[in-house]
Symmetry: C2
Subunit: 432 residues, 2 copies
């Protein structure tokens, strides 16, 4: 197939007629398809139903150290749960605090605490004229929503195939003391599925920030969320690398079991240096008596240990892999060689990132919607919802059943072609 | 028995010898007794073990409206859980937001949000020179810890048998725009077990605060936590009363199931006007995707409805009642008529409040500790840990087994007598 850019006006017009007919056929089918969010599908949820059986009325709900998990107490998590999460997060148990059901909540609270109380004794951000965060783009909309909520100025940093543009990160962080943080999804990034290269992680650990209260917000959301057993990305562990580089307090590492057990009913954790954790506990002990220990125990009893967790993730992968492959196959078959879009091919995580021709993303998402297919809103992957090229679209293959997904991708690629043809025709009509 | 104040120096000295011998006997027994916190006892925890059985791997984890509780979604709580908590909180379901496992966390977040974002559009408190809270005393240490953490100045307001001194509350609130809130435990208050009178609640609802962002922090922690089935305190519902008084946005009402199901693994809720809830949701949607819906469902399936919950609370009462009665009986038997202490006799809640002679509380708690009995720290019931009279001690009868509690109260009353005798002797030695 010839690239669309090489087609004549007449050829484009003929193609348009054909695509429009196809689009109308889809519309007639009154589809309701949703690829908007990284929600696990029902078959994935079924994998964790055993979790409802590990504790029953005959169970001893005590920890190994004798703590009764049913009562108040234990501020920062039961020991066996710290062990499990430490193995998952590749850190020591003593560097882990267990929280509630949402790592997003932990990140929000981390920024909120910095606003009112600073970081390890620094000036509270609320008292500063200006606070800025670096935002690798495209990125995760809920990260950007937190910094926007607190009035923090967000600076776009382009993602490269190796991770964020580190030349830019190093230079900005070193020169501007108003820059207090950077949002990172370092492994199978949201939405591109990029894992940061070894060099990128090493450069992160060696940052020389102008602000003493600068922190790397390392949201390792997809740490064991591989699609392939033997073809996995491996990330250098950031806290260890920071320690080796002499910057032990530089990073907060976040994780949760949301896409391992049940989203919304899992456990979350923060890993950081002892100095950082002391700072966090000073708030935490005022904020709560402790998080849900019965649920912590439930997770420990269900998974047993990290091997059990990894085996469980293989079952998730078996369900997700065909979905990701269906996305890739349809994109390649329908759009390969046309020059109207590019996309990523991640080995894990929850997303595929699609880049349309400049100025086409909003229109594509809008026309998908009119054909019954909900995609993540165009612009969502950028701070303030503003994609400067209006080109990035996040594809979330996990939620629809495989057959629906197949159909959804056919609708999507049809719409991409239709909008691209319109765009090329419009460009021809625009005087140079 | 004669009041100690009428005893001669010689009589006091003889009494001291006797009490010291008794105290040493207790010390020899190497006791480990704890009445420090309002923790349910083990037999109370056993009441909720059935909660571990209501959901199993064969259960349908869907809500009545079809929502799959295992997946992401539903920001502010599933409908049937709002129904249950609304009945418990005596409000409409649409005025309820369900949160995580801790109402303390909800209160903390409410103050934190006011610091960074104000209340319904008011100036963020972090930008004000001075923010103050009224604190009825004695009160709950964890409330005071929140306001202290945020640098909010706390003003003591004396508790009367009818609730806080409303003359003082009305006058302070009306005259000082820096006063932004008041901490209230309106029913079976912590630590006195006082329930606010009808007039007190009516006056609360009719406050005319100088600050538009003043709110009543109504922590109804013990709403259905009665000791007696037919001898219950009844409180006028604050949100309805505020609405009737034309001040619908004046109060936040907090509650949780912490002392109903398992502490730390329960659910919490906030009830407030639609305006207030809209304000809260604006933060909440950035902070989390949603709280633990499976646990919400577990509570609904276990209790069924408010009647089930009330029946469950009768079982708690059956366990707690003998403990509260043992406290009362020992206090009356050992200290009645001696004029060295007074105490409350609540019909519900988790505490009995004891007032020693001025200047004796710290010494009593310290000597109890040396005999193996841990009481709540003296001063804990006052802001900044400073009891101006050094007289108040909180007694928490719930955690020890009945036999231990009996012994603990004997140790306590022995220590009260000993310290009081010392105090009276010291006063005799002090030149007028």
């Amino acid at each position: 197939m010839k690239p669309y850019s090489e087609l004549s006006r007449q050829e484009l017009l003929e193609l348009k007629v054909q695509l429009k007919a196809q689009y109308k056929e889809y519309q007639k089918r009154k589809l309701t398809l949703n690829m908007a969010r990284g929600k696990p599908g029902q078959d994935q949820l079924n994998l964790s139903m055993g979790m409802m059986d590990v504790l029953n009325s005959d169970s001893d709900l005590s920890c190994e150290d004798g703590t009764d998990c049913r009562n108040y107490g234990v501020l920062d998590g039961i020991e066996e749960c710290k062990d499990l999460m430490a193995d998952m997060m590749e850190v020591r148990p003593e560097n882990v605090i267990i929280f509630g059901n949402s790592s997003l909540n932990v990140m929000f609270d981390t920024v909120a605490r910095s606003m009112t109380h600073g970081v390890m004794g620094s000036t509270p951000w609320a008292r500063l004229d200006k606070v800025k965060f670096l935002c690798p783009v495209p990125g995760y909309d809920r990260h950007f929503a937190i910094t926007e909520y607190f009035g923090i100025e967000m600076i776009n940093v382009p993602m490269l195939p190796t991770g964020p543009d580190m030349d830019m990160v190093e230079s900005l962080v070193a020169s501007d003391p108003a820059i207090k943080g950077i949002w990172c999804v370092p492994k199978y990034s949201n939405p591109q599925g990029i894992s940061y290269s070894d060099e990128t992680v090493r450069r992160f650990a060696r940052l020389k920030p102008a602000a003493v209260d600068f922190r790397i917000y390392w949201d390792n959301a997809y740490t064991i969320h591989h699609l392939y057993d033997h073809d996995q990305d491996h990330l250098i562990e950031i806290l260890a690398e920071c320690k080796r580089a002499g910057n032990p307090d530089l990073a907060y590492k976040f994780a949760s079991t949301s896409k391992i057990s049940f989203p919304g009913s899992g456990i979350s954790a923060l890993a950081a240096s002892e100095n950082n954790l002391t700072d966090v506990r000073a708030q935490m002990k005022v904020q709560t008596i402790g998080h849900d220990k019965v649920n912590q125990l439930r997770h420990v009893r269900f998974f047993g240990d990290i091997h059990g967790m990894v085996e469980h993730m293989r079952k998730h992968a078996d369900i997700l892999r065909p979905k990701f492959e269906a996305v890739q196959n349809t994109l390649e078959r329908e759009l390969g060689g046309l020059g109207i879009g590019s996309w990523t091919n991640p080995k894990g995580g929850y997303f595929v990132s699609f880049d349309a021709m400049d100025g086409c993303a909003r229109e594509i998402v809008s026309r998908c919607k009119k054909a019954g297919l909900i995609m993540t809103g165009a612009g969502a992957t950028y701070p303030y919802g503003k994609d400067p090229h209006d080109s990035n679209i996040r594809i979330a293959p996990s939620f629809p059943a495989l057959s629906d997904l197949q159909l959804a991708m056919e609708v999507f690629t049809c719409v991409v072609k239709l909008v691209s043809v319109d765009k090329l025709l419009a460009d021809m009509d625009t005087p140079a």
